[in-house]
Amino acid sequence: MDRLPRWADVALVPLVSLTLAAIISALVIIAIGQDPWEAITVMVQGSVMNAYGWGYTLYYATSFIFTGLAVTVAFHAGLFNIGGEGQAQLGGLGVALAVLFIPWPHWTIALLAAACGAALFGAAWAAIPAYLQAKRGSHIVITTIMFNYIAASLMIFMLVDVLRPPGKMDPATDNFPPTAHLPSFNEIPGLNLIFTSGVPANVTFFIALAMAVVVWLLLWRTRLGYQIRAFGKSEPAARYAGINPTRIIMIAMLISGGLAGLMAINNVMGEAERLLGNSASGAGFIGIAVALMGRNHPVGVVLAALLFGFLFQGGAELGLWTKIPIELRTVVQGLVILFTGALDMMVRMLLTRIFALFRTSKLEAA
């Protein structure tokens, strides 16, 4: 088969996939008797046309950058980590335990402690599936799915039976102490000129961007990153080159789980400021779509996370102002995963044909 030019591979394939997903979403909206043009107007108006909307879009994007990077690191090692959701929930537990019981003097120190707790708990939740994959050959996709459900049960148990303050009815922890409050965009000098009203986007956004740089450095500028990518491309070749499979699987999954867990400093510490049930609310799964659309590259992940942030905030606006249910975003999410992930080959075959057509007509002209 002919090869696609590099620019087409990097930019055109995801764009075509995205367009296909958008067309089908529009058809779905028409099918339920609504107006797709109105839908996109409401979404754009509510998410990127004013600072308030951006405050939410960037807040969602922050979570998705973390979970997208988590899936990306695992993907490069040839592992499909569907467990981001559970790892992010456990990350929330790590944040709560780090912040609730120790009176940190300043939010920076509290953030450091919470980030360590989040990453540690997220990584720990990924460690068991990783170990079972490395040592016992249990398929990581199935074990991480199972661990999502076990995490959900564990969190219900922790919130209802252990962490719930006495006398309270709702399954949630106490509010975090005020010294652990992370500055939102409307509280950061300079940014507060743009963001005048309270928004959930907070300093974690910059940590997410920094993590994207760190992941890029790790994967393409370190020996470990090289080993991870080599292992993901071909396990026998990596083994022959002296790369220890157990070590790579464990390290890649620990980093992946840690990144997914880190998401909790955005939603649990930055926004809710207490641990609630189902804290990750699907962001772990969206990481899969984000990583696939971002072509498993940190730059792509950040862009895709912004797009999904827009989709999430815009979808919420749809639920408020139109008759289109908020679940439309789940449909779009599914379509994006289907086209960018599973039907990648179809889009590629299509484009290769078109390019070949151009090439032959050029030859004939010459």
């Binding site: 609504q34 049960s153 449909v331």
Partner: protein
């Protein structure tokens, strides 16, 4: 715990095991043919919505079930085209279909009925109602076995009995027919099947479509027998429990039945924490009972209770030699 409580729990075990069993057998066909399917959940959900909606309009549970099967088969077709024709990643396709189903079912139900993504409650002929087996009433007073027959075995909807009949049917198809032999072969060594002049794609498509039919029955059972109508996310992870049961049973039909009964029993216990407490003499947290099927599956996957080895060609798209 007295005998009547035990009977009650066994009765709900059968009811709760049925959707698991149907979905589990559905997965068995697909995975035995070498196509991993983590989209069972989405297919069930789609079927439940279609069955609930059509049963409401027609007032006939059978037509509802057919609609459920049709809806589930459309999803199975997408899965087949993606993973067999275009050789896409089967796992990612499954994940995508689950999200698609989760969103689409609510969108459609909301636009049809405007009740927050539910279908209206079904009654009468729009549901599969319990049927009494012959002479259940006459045997009621026979000690021990009489109440067991009357309470546990009799008085379920037709789909419950159908599910158990399909276990036997699946066993027969898989181990006693030419189609079954080829199905097992195509999941282990598709190249050999191809060499024998049998279409790998055709076989795999047929298996994926059977998966669609059985998931359709599972979903229809959820909406028109177990409960009265479709509700948002009503399958609640049953597709994944079925997948767990399939692995637990090492991809074999009769063992799948036992696994589903066991997991159904756990679900029945989770509904009665008071009974659990009185038996084990200390308070067992309900979330632990909910998580038990998943924990057991991980233990099985880890190979501590016999090793679960999937069909060898599972997850690999087949590329014909040129």
């Amino acid at each position: 715990m007295d005998y009547s409580t035990l009977l009650q729990i066994l009765d709900s075990t059968l009811r709760l095991a049925t959707p698991l069993l149907l979905a589990c057998l559905a997965g068995l066909y697909s995975e035995r043919a070498g196509v991993f399917d983590i989209g069972l959940e989405g297919k069930m959900l789609t079927a439940a919505m279609c069955a609930g909606a059509v049963a409401f309009y027609t007032g006939n549970a059978w037509i509802g079930a057919l609609a459920g099967i049709a809806g589930s088969m459309i999803f199975a077709l997408i899965h087949g085209v993606t993973s067999i024709t275009f050789r896409g990643n089967q796992l990612i396709a499954g994940v995508a279909l689950n999200f698609l189903a989760s969103g689409m079912t609510v969108l459609v139900a909301q636009s049809l009925f405007g009740q927050g993504g539910r279908t209206p409650p079904l009654e009468g002929g729009a549901r599969f109602n319990p049927i009494d087996l012959p002479i259940a009433d006459a045997l009621k007073d026979v000690p021990v076995l009489g109440p067991f027959y009357h309470e546990v075995i009799s008085g379920h909807s037709i789909l419950v009995y159908a599910a158990f009949a399909i276990v036997a049917l699946t066993w027969w198809v898989l181990y006693r027919t030419r189609y079954g032999l080829r199905l097992r072969a195509v999941g282990e060594n598709p190249a050999a099947v191809d060499t024998a002049g049998v279409s790998v794609k055709g076989l795999r498509f047929s298996a994926v479509m059977v998966t669609g039919v059985l998931c359709g029955l599972a979903g229809a059972y959820m909406a028109t027998a177990l409960q009265a109508g479709f509700g948002k996310e009503m399958t609640a992870g049953r597709g994944y429990i079925a997948l767990a049961a399939l692995i637990f049973a090492k991809w074999r039909p009769v063992q799948a039945m036992y696994a589903c009964l066991l997991f159904g029993f756990f679900q029945a216990l989770a509904l009665r924490p008071d009974v659990v407490e009185s038996v084990v003499q200390f308070k067992v947290p309900v979330p632990f009972l909910d998580a038990l099927p998943y924990i057991l599956t991980v233990i099985v996957l880890a190979g501590f209770i016999g090793k679960a080895i999937p069909p060898r060609a599972g997850g690999e798209p087949y590329v014909k030699e040129r």
